[in-house]
Symmetry: C2
Subunit: 255 residues, 2 copies
Amino acid sequence: MQAPDALFELTERYLERLELDAELGEQRASMRYALEGGKRVRAVICLATAEAAGADLEQALPAAAALELIHAFSLVHDDLPALDDDDERRGRPSAHVAFGEGVALLAGDALIAEAFRLVLTYPTTAPARELAGATLGMIGGQYLDITGGDSDLAELHRLKTGRLLAASVGLALWAADVPECEQEPWREFGEELGMLFQVVDDLLDGDGYAARLGVDAARGLAREAGERAAAALVQIPVATSVLRAIVDGLVVRTV
Amino acid sequence: MQAPDALFELTERYLERLELDAELGEQRASMRYALEGGKRVRAVICLATAEAAGADLEQALPAAAALELIHAFSLVHDDLPALDDDDERRGRPSAHVAFGEGVALLAGDALIAEAFRLVLTYPTTAPARELAGATLGMIGGQYLDITGGDSDLAELHRLKTGRLLAASVGLALWAADVPECEQEPWREFGEELGMLFQVVDDLLDGDGYAARLGVDAARGLAREAGERAAAALVQIPVATSVLRAIVDGLVVRTV
């Protein structure tokens, strides 16, 4: 079993080597830029889940990378002036500042299509269907976010952050050929991860749950989500120590 | 064999009935708006090709609709201020004028993901792979367009317009279960359609080939592309009269 740090490195190497479609030409530079510097949370969850479920890591890398491409697309488009208008991302100028708005817009579009191309290298349509559903849910969450839908913060977060984190587990199951009838306990784990990740994010940013409920209550919520995720892991009859380490890391993360 | 007008109507009814992902919530209104009012050239080519290749039209409708979703996405994003900044589309306010830039941006993103969801209802990954490749090529063409890449106008158009028109034929072949070893003459036909469509478009808009070569030379180019497309059809050992009618209609179209 590989530790989360090793899975991070594996993702980095895979993304560096990843060949983007040649017809994109120079557009690829902006896509590579947008892909650099992430924490790879989704890829690491995907790889750790796949390995726990009995897959070779090689088998899960295209799925793990596809998740990071979808995540990168969402950040590039979120940062555009039409949405959050953020000039900085991951400590550098955001993509539209570095490449111009038009190229950044197209970079996000191309990252979506490349993510599907990657996940369509699997023999069945199941991984791509999982990714399509999660991407649509995520966009639904972004819509709630910009149209003042935070009256239901839990639903907004379940969609905007939770769908892709849950799909990190889901894609791993398909990559590991886990039959659908055995996927349920894994998927319960995936659902909890989204909540956990988002509450800690809000604590770090001082918004969302932290602003709504206060820091102490939000910390309690994060701890509970971590406990539920850990409890879901216990129901799965394989060695899940790396996934447990990822949960513990998410609870105490500071960046 | 259904005539192009009947195939257009079939597409309209299918798109009207099409259920978009529920998690998109109110976002769906902007997507429906963006889907309204097209000529459905890509869908009609797809359906006519599928029927000529022996498929039931029902079998090809998801593919035909997916092509229209990708086309609609490209128009919504092209119209944004970051790209062409067009306030009008199909005789109405463009999506970002009607719904705001943020919602229009997300509508385009969601149309891509919905297109994949549709084309992933086929039993194999082949149709979705065809769509991913065409979408990436199209985005590569858009990139050439905005970064002054029209030094090679033919390559720009092959990518920006031609890839999706060629995929209209390609998707039909997968929907009709035409074995890969029998697809070549069909695909030659698809390649010619792109050139034909674009030159006529330029003649109608007075730009591109028409501006570069003059109206008479561009008319000649359109006629030649139409003849090559018709010649490609003759090589295919099935009844292709509807496709021939589509070619003839593209040569003389005035909108």
